[in-house]
Symmetry: D2
Subunit: 166 residues, 4 copies
DNA sequence: TTTT
DNA sequence: TTTT
């Protein structure tokens, strides 16, 4: 069933990176998303939405995002519950990010790096594209960067899993 | 900042309709949205997402949706907090629905009624469309229904606020 | 960069299924999505949005959807261009569906079957879920169907790739 | 019926601002949205998506966005057709933006201004919020940056129609 | 506290 | 006809 969320906001704190017993990376952070309207007192409020990311993207988030970073998230709303130390059931609603976009420019550059997206799917998608885009020939040229995924000239960079040194 | 959620799922209970002291209608319900994947035990889980709707749409939801109804929601993620009777701060994340779509067929019909969308905006949008669509002339012909908003021939129907008898 | 579309509408024609030279399935169909407002003449118009689906989901679409079916789509907006027989460049905008949801009830049932979602990812997601949901234990039970993926009792069914007999 | 698009990308040219005979502002621009995957040649392609905005937001777009600007769009997919000078029917698919977010930082600032959202609705929403958020009182505190589009007291700023000097 |  |  359809379940889709897209958010753009700022991290309220540095991402927390952890590993499951099986060694899978998970990162948590909170996105403050300003509301497009003001409340009765004329103040602009924000929603504070908890984000969870897994695997490579969790590590990317931990490496590239920090408190205050502007980020975009594309994912799903998920709910779970647990019992707290008082034995009460606590219900949690959070966003499971399938892709995280880094929107903060670096070094006065024009910003807009992006990481995330399915890693294994990559090949599937390429296969698809190979067929659909044969008449297209339009490409963007994010060329010539090596180890440092953020070029010093401030150009926007899309960081796919394959480009990253981890 | 961008904050958009789209869900399709089933109501876990009848909507609860209330009125604020100022007489504004608010409805609450929970949408069970089945996950597209199964867990390690091979079970398909669901997310249980709390929805809030306001005003006319709240009343429409109360009138047209019930436990088990298939519904679509387009809205925003919102968070708030309150203090419970033990003096603990409880954080709540819910979806403020801007439009609710009724996806349950009625009377063996082919379903797909839709209500919601901005009521006041309607005129604005019409003004826009009047200009943009002058070359279009394509319309959908879900015609000829009168009082019963769900035509007996099972044709899909969009129920705008203006069509509804309240 | 973020690119997300979610649609619910009805097929204007049966899906067209084709195969690329490499044997990859592609299906095309058009979704008529009624606008939530009426035009100046009081008519409700619709948008006719071209959808492309790949691989297993293309075959599912061809098998389970037909003209008039109510369907949901979660995907991306894509553009491409080609040269027509008059040598003119034609620009095309369509939606590449990543998941397609079947919203048409069968046999007077309460509808809401869903197919699609990443096939290979399935395992990744399960791995994730195995960790996140250990306190959850909530499951939905789509049990006991065999060859015909649509149970005769009209229960809603999520058709994952693995469940399908192809 | 559900129809929702969210995009983040860069303008390929300055927005074109026009006025209808009735004096309603309309702006058009194209958003280049880089794909999250590379094609078979290893090139990263982009989708070039045409955006239409109306009224105040059209004027805001014309004033605040230019070729190369990073922008977010929340809107609907719309289709229309017209007859070209050769008498051929041309089909057009574009995104009608309901809100446009300015994501380009100004003068090395921390970026993320946002304009758009319904103007008339503002009051409606406030009325709603007045009731829902009485327990909230949380505001976001992105403090200590000055340069301009961000107020000196560090308050987060969404540029709503009312705040703008036109 | 969960739907089909 | 495309952005960074």
């Amino acid at each position: 069933m359809l379940n889709r969320v897209v958010l753009v906001g700022r991290l309220t704190r540095d991402p927390e990176l952890r590993y499951t017993p099986n060694g899978v990376a998970v990162a948590n952070f909170t996105l403050a998303v300003n509301r497009p309207f003001t409340n009765q007192q004329g103040d602009r409020e924000a929603d504070f939405i908890n984000i969870v990311v897994w695997r490579r993207q969790a590590e990317n988030a931990a490496n590239f995002l920090k408190k205050g970073s502007l980020a975009g998230v594309d994912g799903r709303v998920q709910t779970r519950s647990y019992e707290n130390n008082q034995g009460q059931k606590v219900f949690v609603t959070e966003v499971m990010a399938e892709s995280v976009q880094f929107l903060e420019p670096k070094n006065g550059g024009q910003g807009g790096g992006n990481f995330g997206g399915p890693s294994r799917d990559n090949n599937d998608y390429q296969g698809q594209n190979q067929n659909r885009n044969q008449n297209q020939g339009r490409k963007s040229d994010f060329s010539n960067f090596d180890d440092d995924p953020f070029a010093s000239d401030g150009k926007p960079i899309d960081i796919s899993d394959d480009d990253l040194p981890f």
